[in-house]
């Protein structure tokens, strides 16, 4: 049964009724993951950042104030902050997940493709090709096969003569490096997502 309350109302209510926060999560988790994935490209990092963002929001829901904007903007603010920290440090925080006791889960194999599908790489394919030159041989080959040629992972694994999971990881690591690289050059990997 859908909750009729707005995000703002839910977030305010979650202070004394924590389950209201889960409703906010249900509404926005997919979109936030897409938003994050569009910036970090790497599915693993995107999933981790999403988890950390919601954990942080849950842990500090007591400090949420109704500022007139849509409640979800507050969560996107936290996500931006997390992204900034990720780009500065090259790793995802775990503090908020630890604080509320969320386990650090590895990304299930089938999610790699699904998250990649969320990201539209088309706008910066040119920059991508150029940036490919700076990657390791293994990662570049994997990325070319997967992103440029658009092959499924079974095919990528066959061409690289490695396991499917290994192929996923190579693509994932390559995308991660790529995103950091593009960030360094001031090229936003994806356009701003409007919520």
């Amino acid at each position: 049964m859908p909750d009729a309350r707005s995000d703002t109302e839910l977030l305010l209510a979650s202070r004394s009724e924590p389950s209201a926060f889960v409703e906010v999560y249900r509404r926005h988790a997919d979109e936030l993951l897409r938003y994050v994935a569009g910036r970090v490209l790497d599915p693993e990092v995107a999933a981790e950042l999403t988890a950390e963002t919601f954990a942080e929001a849950f842990a500090s829901r007591g400090s949420y104030r109704d500022t007139g904007a849509e409640g979800v903007a507050w969560i996107y603010g936290i996500a931006k902050h997390q992204l900034g920290r990720y780009f500065r440090r090259g790793r995802v925080d775990t503090a908020a997940r630890k604080r509320i006791g969320l386990p650090e889960r590895p990304l299930p194999p089938e999610d790699y493709e699904r998250i990649e599908e969320l990201v539209d790489l088309e706008p910066f394919r040119a920059a991508l090709v150029e940036a490919l030159g700076t990657l390791d041989e293994d990662q570049r080959r994997a990325l070319e096969l997967r992103v440029v040629d658009g092959l499924p992972y079974t095919e990528v694994a066959a061409r690289l003569a490695c396991g499917e999971q290994a192929a996923r990881q190579r693509v994932s690591r390559g995308l991660r490096k790529l995103a950091l690289l593009l960030q360094e050059r001031g090229l936003q990997p994806a356009t701003e997502v409007t919520s």
């Binding site: 999560y25 988790a29 997919d30 993951l33 988890a51 919601f54 942080e56 889960r105 990304l107 699904r114």
Partner: protein, 362 residues
């Protein structure tokens, strides 16, 4: 959740679990409970410090605060045996005033008659140490030239219920040293005793007495009577010589008048001589034996204990309970005062940590 990404579905499950934990925590009470053990620990430590500070016998370092021990002692004692049970540290076992070993009154009793034989051990120990200069051996070095009357005074606080033991032990110490109890006055759970002990045993006896409880007051006096002694001895010699001369003259006297006159003179001199001999004997006695005035008091005021036995009214018990509680509280507050700088430091540290955490989050 209808997301087709398994990671997000798992994350939702994890969040649900976090929500359950959060609810449980809310039901289990406020976050303040998390601090309860720490606060309790701080209070216990504060109380311990307060008790130590308020009980001068526990640590000699705090001798300066001895004047306030009448209150502090009863505060630590909690007033009766009941509160002592709850707070066993209330009556710290007596610590040695000086010397390397610590004997509580109980130990003293366990030795029993051994106090007599045990004394000699101590005397021997003491003889070996340079602080004791009134041993027979060193006394001969001074010969009879130096005449000093030594007196001592000591006030002891002993644990509740151990007055009798302490008294017995004190008597045993005096007698073990070849001394005796000159007079004693016991009133309820307190008593005053005058002990006479051989002068050369004065120091070891004082040391041993000090081990019977917490020394509240210790005083040692030495009165040098050498000049007086020399003077009396000289006069005694002169008078003896004069008496001998008069006696010779008497033997040679020819007339009754002469004899009567000389007899009068002889009696006069003899009387003077006896008076001086008496003074000399008194001085010698005083020098040979030292006087120690010993007061033994139980930690708790004697009247209170008496009342508990005679009039066990509920109101009285309640009042005493309240008083005991306030005493314990007072001791804890004193201890908190001592801990204050440390607590402030810890508070500042936590404050900075919290502020940094917040800054990192925002």
């Amino acid at each position: 959740m209808e997301s087709d990404i398994r990671f997000l579905r798992d994350l939702e499950q994890d969040l649900q679990r976090a929500v359950v934990r959060e609810r449980k925590r809310a039901l289990g009470g406020s976050r303040a409970w998390k601090w309860a053990p720490a606060v309790a620990a701080v209070l216990v430590v504060a109380w311990g410090i307060g008790a130590v500070v308020e009980n001068p016998g526990t640590l000699r370092v705090f001798q300066g605060s001895e004047e306030s021990t009448a209150d502090g002692g009863s505060a630590g004692g909690g007033g009766d045996a009941g509160s002592r049970k709850i707070l066993p540290e209330a009556a710290p076992s007596p610590m040695p005033v000086e010397g390397p070993e610590s004997w509580s009154v109980g130990d003293e009793r366990a030795r029993g008659d051994g106090a007599l034989s045990g004394f000699d051990d101590v005397a021997e120990e003491q003889a070996g140490s340079p602080t004791v200069d009134r041993d027979p051996a060193s006394a001969t070095a001074f010969g009879d030239l130096s005449k000093i009357i030594r007196t001592g005074r000591m006030r002891l606080k002993v644990a509740d219920g151990t007055f009798r033991d302490a008294r017995d032990a004190a008597v045993a110490i005096a007698e073990g040293a070849g001394g005796f109890v000159l007079d004693s006055r016991v009133e309820g759970r307190a008593g005053t005793f005058t002990l006479r002990v051989p002068a050369q045993r004065f120091d070891p006896v004082m040391t041993r007495l000090g081990r019977l409880g917490d020394v509240e007051l210790e005083e040692q006096n030495g009165q040098d009577v050498t000049a007086e002694y020399v003077d009396l001895t000289a006069r005694s010699e002169i008078l003896t010589a004069r008496r001998d001369v008069i006696q010779e003259l008497m033997d040679e006297a020819t007339s009754l008048q002469q004899t009567l006159l000389l007899q009068n003179r002889f009696d006069e001199v003899q009387l003077q001589l006896e008076r001086i001999t008496g003074q000399l004997r008194f001085l010698n006695d005083q020098v040979a034996e030292s006087t120690i005035r010993l007061e033994i008091v139980e930690r708790t005021a004697p009247q209170q204990r008496q009342e508990l036995v005679d009039n066990p009214s509920l109101l009285e018990a309640w009042k005493r309970g309240i008083q005991g509680f306030l005493n314990v509280l007072a001791v804890a507050i004193i201890g908190l005062g001592y801990l204050l700088p440390l607590l402030v430091a810890i508070g500042v540290w936590f404050g900075i940590k919290e502020a940094m955490k917040r800054r990192r989050r925002s």
